[in-house]
């Protein structure tokens, strides 16, 4: 097992950052810790690195208890959100730092260090900048160098704390794909923290959704996205429409509109419910194909690139509905603001409880 976290708890004055978290990460796995800001995911990462100490619990890295080791003895690579490069040192010296501070006996020879740094910089495609200073590089380039620096010490695990969040959208996407490719090549056990569900879905082998210091759900991106266990996970993993209503006698009522309750909620007593639909799972058409379809009017059109966002209000339905349809469909149906359409709610998820957004 690459990383084993056992019952980690961490309290700061006034709140509990981590509440009894247990998590296993297999060797060579790439895991995303996903959650809103302040949910404790960064604290968890820092605890694994030894930069914070847990109040209780154990951290086992490659079958060795490292709970109380200082960061420098943990052999963990850490990549910071804001790069944290040494700006008085060149790119070469930054990457070589971890090797040069080794005790004399373990330190590789000068030429071995040179080779290793060159190899790593090639790996992150930054070999051309070996003599530059960090201030001469762009954000994306700095983060690559930071990654090479973290990898230089052959870490048992690589920890990345929101590594791409300081970069602009385009570079972020590029680096994301590149990191996935890099991980497929070098297979170092990695955990990265993010609040960006797209990043987690695209990059990770496994996603761990964290909220308020607890793990809500973990699984492959597919599992977590298709079968969210609760309203929080569903909501956090993408855009949603939420309709508050009541569940009663096997039916969910949303004002005058009723739909069948899912099987597991068929026999519950009457209680409040939230009905979730993802915008892209809402069907829009010009003709009524099903009697449950709603008749609606387009209130607003948003051009979002390949997707078109529609804001709809429907007869006999008190909530406004956000839908996303492909651009092609939008053009084919010749939609515009004020047009009448029929709306079908596909793949509805119903949760009960007091969840609030």
């Amino acid at each position: 097992m690459g990383i084993e976290l056992q019952n980690i708890t961490k309290k700061f004055t006034g709140y509990t950052a981590l509440d009894n978290i247990s998590l296993n990460v297999a060797s060579g796995e790439l895991v995303a810790l996903l959650g809103p800001s302040g949910c404790g995911k960064t604290t968890l990462l820092r605890i694994i690195a030894g930069l914070e100490l847990p109040d209780s619990g154990k951290i086992i890295l490659e079958n060795k208890d490292t709970t109380n080791l200082p960061p420098r003895k943990k052999n963990v690579g850490f990549v910071f959100q804001h790069y944290a490069l040494f700006r008085r040192l060149t790119v070469f010296e930054n990457v070589a730092f971890g090797l040069k501070v080794l005790p004399f006996r373990e330190r590789p020879s000068r030429s071995a260090i040179q080779d290793r740094v060159e190899h790593l910089l090639k790996l992150v495609q930054m070999d051309w900048a070996i003599k530059r200073y960090p201030s001469q590089l762009s954000g994306g380039q700095r983060q690559r160098v930071a990654l090479a620096r973290a990898l230089a010490v052959n870490p048992k695990v690589l920890l990345l704390d929101e590594p791409f969040s300081a970069l602009d959208a385009k570079v972020r996407q590029e680096l994301r794909r590149w990191l996935r490719k890099l991980h497929d090549e070098i297979h170092v056990t990695s955990i990265f923290v993010t609040h960006d569900q797209e990043e987690a879905l695209e990059l990770a082998d496994r996603i761990v959704v964290i909220n308020k210091g607890r793990i809500e759900q973990q699984g492959t991106p597919q599992e977590v996205y298709d079968h969210p266990v609760n309203a929080f996970v569903y909501n956090f993993l993408g855009n949603v429409n939420v309709f508050h209503g009541r569940i009663k006698n096997g039916k969910v009522s949303l004002g005058a509109y009723h739909l069948d309750a899912p099987d597991e909620l068929k026999n519950t007593e009457e209680k409040p419910s939230q009905t979730f639909v993802r915008p892209h799972e809402i069907g829009i058409s010009r003709i009524r194909s099903n009697e449950t379809d709603l008749a609606g009017t387009i209130r607003e059109v948003r051009i979002m690139g390949g997707q078109i966002g529609l804001n709809l209000s429907c007869e006999g339905f008190e909530h406004a509905i956000d839908a996303e349809i492909p651009r092609e469909l939008y053009l084919n149906l010749q939609l515009a603001k004020g047009e009448k359409v029929f709306v079908s709610l596909n793949r509805v998820r119903v949760f009960t409880g007091d969840y609030e957004i």
Partner: protein, 277 residues
């Protein structure tokens, strides 16, 4: 080639105007008064000038002034760095009080400091009577001068390092630790290079101040010829004997040496800063 190029639009308008002001004020405040030393010396002629500035007592005073100022500056650099570190990195009760104490040498008339030291270290003073048992003499010795100059120069170092230290991101140190660096390695390889320019500026200021310091030193130094006479004192004693030209001559040499040392240190700093920008 154009010397005064304007690189980009500035929020404050008028390079010509502001440069003019700068030159004018520097002239009025620094250059013109100091040039008087120069003009006072000229009528002397070369022979008497050389004679005045190479007298053994004068040479000894230069040596003493520069060496004690240097010692004090180096000491201040170390202790000042430590103090700045404590003030920036830790939170403790009485921090404000301690922070205010640092500035006291700036505000205090230096003669007051000199009298305090003289009382404290005199053979019957609190510290003096203990030290004398171990044959350590502070009063009437170069050591005493260094002690006084350390006091005078101390705030310069603390106040130049403090803001730079405050800016150092904590993540930098964490990154170094994660890469396996010990605390000492983190300090020596990462923090110290970062602080070095500020440290150099601070100790240069302390050094420059130390060369010119008069008030606090004369009370503690004893002013023994060839042993504990500092250069500013030589100037004063020449003035007392109405030897204005001689005083100017000594002052001129002091001025030239100080200025070239400051220039050199500035150049070192410039060179230090250049690469990372």
């Amino acid at each position: 080639m154009e010397f005064f190029q304007r690189k980009r639009r500035n929020i404050l308008p008028g390079f010509g105007l502001s440069m003019g002001y700068t030159v004018f004020y520097l002239s009025a405040i620094v250059i013109v008064p100091l040039s008087m030393i120069f003009f006072n010396t000229i009528p002397m002629g070369w022979e008497p000038f050389l004679h005045a500035v190479t007298a053994p007592r004068v040479l000894a005073s230069y040596r003493l002034s520069f060496s004690t100022a240097l010692f004090a500056a180096v000491f201040d650099a170390i202790v000042g760095l430590l103090t700045a570190w404590v003030l920036v990195r830790y939170r403790f009760p009485g921090k404000q009080f301690l922070d205010a104490l640092v500035d006291l040498p700036f505000a205090l008339p230096t003669a007051v400091a000199g009298i305090c030291f003289a009382t404290l270290y005199s053979p019957v003073g609190w510290l003096g009577q203990t030290l004398i048992k171990y044959n350590i003499e502070i009063i009437n010795s170069p050591t005493g001068i260094v002690v006084a100059l350390i006091f005078i120069g101390f705030p310069f170092v603390v106040r130049t390092i403090q803001p730079v230290l405050e800016e150092v991101e904590h993540e930098i140190e964490e990154a170094a630790q994660c890469l396996g660096a010990t605390r000492w390695q983190t300090f020596r390889k990462i923090l110290l290079p970062h602080l070095f320019p500020a440290l150099l500026t601070g100790s240069t200021l302390a050094f420059a101040r130390g060369i010119g310091e008069y008030g606090s030193v004369i009370f503690i130094a004893g002013n023994l010829p060839m042993k504990t006479e500092i250069a500013p004192l030589m100037i004063m004693s020449k003035l007392d004997q109405f030897d204005y030209a001689g005083a100017s001559a000594v002052a001129l040499v002091l001025l030239l040496i100080s200025f070239s040392m400051l220039l050199l240190l500035n150049a070192v700093q410039e060179w230090q800063q250049k690469e990372y920008r």
